[in-house]
């Protein structure tokens, strides 16, 4: 293996000089610098990064915990994280946790054991809970955020966004609005439900919990939930789905029942995934700046890692936009 000592020998200088030439060239005389660079080239020398990491106690890696990477929205967030991290010289260690807390804690351990400098969690769970007393490793919680997060957060005002969607449906004359929810226990689901209720209350309507169906953010769950809503004696005239995947499942089910969207039933989603504008009919939904969630999370995390401590208690709210397409129309 060509290591720094080989290069030093080849260049006829000490290892310290080689190290300095590569890290702080300005404090090395030009003549020596050239000699060393030639030797580096000649030996095909590449510094052993594990040695650098070990010595400097900095890995330039970030752990990212994502609940389901196959989810279009998360895939975009990860894209943003990766781009921002790479731009600043960091790599990302990705873990598709599937919501399993054991797995999340295991990966969080990579930070405790120095294999990564910080962690981005995209789910409402603190993988460092059990770490007693010790200083918390650098962490940022984004997308689905803990209520009392012990770290900076990046989120959407889900409540306001859900309210905006609901108000749009109300303005179209809908009064019986079904809701296809995300997984229970999720702050995200809770907030969207609150926003939904806010809008109903503001319009003087009583909430009807029998119109709320659980789902799990996948198309099949939306399909199933829509089936339940349609089989009622008094089906809703509009359905608000907590994400676009479920909305697409719901639209399919509605068509299978021989009904039309939006003439018979309006459907709204959340996220504005790439397919939202290409499904039939194009979906009314909430657009989120997915990549920006990732970029912002990286920026905050590096603020903590680099001890720009003023950032330690930052909570960013990202903007949303109600995108009205053709899946919502006047109540029948």
């Amino acid at each position: 293996m060509t290591n720094i000592r080989k290069v030093a020998e080849l260049a006829g200088v000490s290892v310290a000089t080689v190290s300095r030439t590569l890290k702080t060239p300005d404090i090395v005389s030009p003549a020596t610098r050239d000699k060393v660079l030639v030797a580096v080239e000649q030996a095909g020398y590449r510094p052993n990064l594990t040695a650098v990491q070990f010595r400097s106690q900095r890995t330039r890696n970030l752990v990212v915990l994502v609940p389901i990477i196959a989810n279009t929205f998360f895939a975009r967030v990860i894209g943003g994280i990766q781009e921002a991290a790479q731009r600043r010289g960091y790599g990302i260690l990705l873990c598709n946790t599937l919501g399993d807390e054991r797995t999340e804690r295991a990966y969080a351990g990579l930070v405790s054991t120095r294999q990564a400098d910080g962690l981005i969690q995209l789910r409402a769970y603190d993988p460092f809970t059990t770490s007693r007393g010790k200083a918390r490793p650098p962490m940022v919680n984004a997308c689905e955020v803990l209520d009392e997060a012990p770290c900076p957060t990046v989120k959407l005002d889900n409540r306001a966004a859900a309210r905006a969607v609901t108000e749009h449906l109300l303005a179209l004359g809908h009064r019986r609005i079904g809701m296809i929810k995300g997984p229970r226990n999720s702050p995200l689901t809770r907030d969207r439900l609150l926003g939904f209720q806010d809008a109903l209350a503001a319009a003087g309507l009583m909430p009807d919990e029998s119109l709320w169906c659980p789902g799990d953010f996948t198309p099949p769950s939306g399909h199933r939930a829509a089936g339940e809503l349609l089989s009622r004696a008094d089906p809703p005239t509009a359905i608000f789905c907590e994400n676009d995947e479920m909305a697409m499942g719901a639209m399919r089910r509605i068509k299978e029942a021989g009904l039309r969207v939006p003439e018979d039933i309006s459907v709204a989603g959340f996220d504005d995934i790439a397919f939202a504008s290409f499904c039939d009919p194009p979906l009314t939904t909430i657009a989120q700046p997915a990549e920006d969630f990732g970029r912002e999370a990286v920026a905050l995390l590096l603020d903590i890692i680099d001890d720009r401590v003023d950032a330690a208690d930052e909570h960013r709210i990202m903007p949303f936009e109600l995108v009205i397409r053709e899946s919502t129309g006047p109540a029948a």
Copy 2:
């Protein structure tokens, strides 16, 4: 920092004994073992992984180069990679390369510099090309594979799959079949095109290149390409798209033109993404075992890393399945 020496002191043994207790407990006497474990617990000791990696020259990390993580199919492949890697104690360093060769080479450097033990490339490009003479770092090429890959590969028989789709369309009576291709220079696109031509030739039809439109695997490109095909004097009666995303874009465009799928035009895709069975109409497509591509790639890579060299020239062909849904029907 609590390191192994602190623990040794606390337990009243040598550092070697602590190391052995944690790595090879069976060669340590039960009494000593207990003493050490108590000390480990008491000190809250976690071994510094960078030190372990440095010393053992093994990082238990794999680099994964993915062209576009936001692509549903790749997201599934990554899910499979992650699962298989995690099961065997490996982490993955993910890079969303966007097809940029500079970026790919930079990440490949993580292997050369010992920050990862191997690399999985999901695109037809060898990021180690410039490494002169040296032994090639462990690598596996999956999904879109180099023709003369210098490493094991995992791929689909794209040609046979495309042929199967085309034969299905021919059997329905279609004679003018449009094709929406993927990016040029992609072996994947070339092979699917070959399979398409194989089927036409077998049916005694002359290929008509004017019916081939370029795309880039995104819904908007499928939308655009379908627009071109529809604006012809003699539009095709069926369109074969090289992936489902483009097929969804194409179906949207067809409906915008006031035509029906499949009554007026049949559409077929490739990949069988989650939305394929939920779009309108559900899409006829080729199902690929996406997660298995990832799992298989990991298995092969670890075979190389662990010097089970017999695997060094393995080329796995994964199975496909033609899934016939409602987007294809008899020619008008």
